[in-house]
Symmetry: C2
Subunit: 224 residues, 2 copies
């Protein structure tokens, strides 16, 4: 447990905020192991910070659902169960479905352009790596980010991008997920974008819901 330099995130003004962002990353990427206890004195030493600043960061991590705290007992990194994972898919289906519907209605031209560019890039990778695309734990995730951004609903954006997606990424790192659905997922992405381009909100929502549902079913099978 050597010292750690805090990543100088652009929007990191205060120490407690940098601690928050750094710890969030460590938890998501599994360097702070799921289920492990969090020792305030130890972490504070590790980051050359006071316990007060650290505790402020812990409060926010708890609100994000990345740690669990019990009075006088301390904090632990959450352990995500299979059930939690499936629940997350249901929530994503609802929210990202709505994001698609809104994106189809509110999308700006630059949003659409960015989506198409992204798709093209993925197509390239797809051909290059032939089936092993979307290999990285984060693989193909930027697509969902962009869609949500295009919805132009700041609450939706915040809920997904600043809250739920951290849990999603945490799962991916934990399970070392390689989507066996790389090709089909890519096709589905394209159809979704086409619906958004055509400003067909109804269809865009339906396609996204199926896309996520398929992913959910795929995982559900693998987990048994």
């Amino acid at each position: 447990m050597s010292d750690v330099v805090l990543e100088p995130v652009a929007t990191a003004q205060s120490l407690s905020q940098r601690l928050f962002e750094t710890l969030r990353g460590e938890i998501v990427e599994g360097r702070l192991v799921a289920g492990s206890k969090i020792s305030e004195p130890e972490l504070a030493r590790r980051f050359n910070a006071s316990r007060g600043s650290l505790r402020e960061a812990l409060m926010r991590l708890e609100a994000l659902g990345l740690i669990e705290r019990r009075v006088n007992l301390g904090a632990r990194v959450v352990t995500l169960s299979r059930r939690d994972l499936l629940e997350l898919y249901d929530v994503r289906e609802a929210l990202e479905g709505m994001a698609c519907r809104l994106a189809a209605a509110n999308r700006s031209d630059t949003d659409l352009q960015a989506l198409c560019h992204l798709l093209a890039r993925h197509e390239q990778q797809q051909e290059l790596q032939a089936g092993t695309a979307y290999f990285q734990p984060e693989g193909g995730f930027d697509f969902h980010f962009r869609i949500v951004q295009a919805s132009n609903n700041s609450l939706l954006i915040d809920t997904l991008c600043n809250q739920l997606y951290y849990r999603v990424r945490m799962y991916r790192y934990q399970l070392g997920m390689v989507s066996a659905r790389a090709q089909s997922a890519f096709r589905e992405h394209r159809h979704i974008i086409e619906a958004i381009q055509a400003q067909d909100g109804e269809l865009a929502e339906l396609l996204m819901r199926r896309h996520i549902c398929a992913s959910r079913n795929n995982i559900e099978n693998k987990l048994r």
Copy 2:
């Protein structure tokens, strides 16, 4: 600004947590006025607490989206715009729609019973107050709570009941909302419950989405 006794909430173990819950209530019910600045020293004095404990509560309030903090400038109670309100409706439509779908599939008998009881109680109030039902700022909200509970998806429950609904209640207090749709809202509630009882998830979701959408449109008109 006299002293305030912290409500001895059942699940209030630590001071910072009680502060959090108390402040959350004060903001939601408008005693801490939207847009007003939050002075850490003043609040700390008012609750006979140290600034440290107070700040821990503020971190959580920020994560809840009830206050906004800017470095070295302090915190302010959020001011909810008309746009925010409409965005909230879109998110609710997605999440509560999914909650209905899941409730229809997963509902326990006790859930269903509780829902029917609630409906009966509302029917009584309806007849009694003839049109002025749902008058209180919180009016008829327990219905939505119950539905979400019945979904049996803990992430969904947490997202709605422990996060978004605080904002919803804040709006109601702010706008002193009296749903002019009391009668129609009640009818819609009954139909939703019937669909859940029949375990028709598809229909339950559709009805809830229409219900919320209608409410949204109603508000949208009033705001102009």
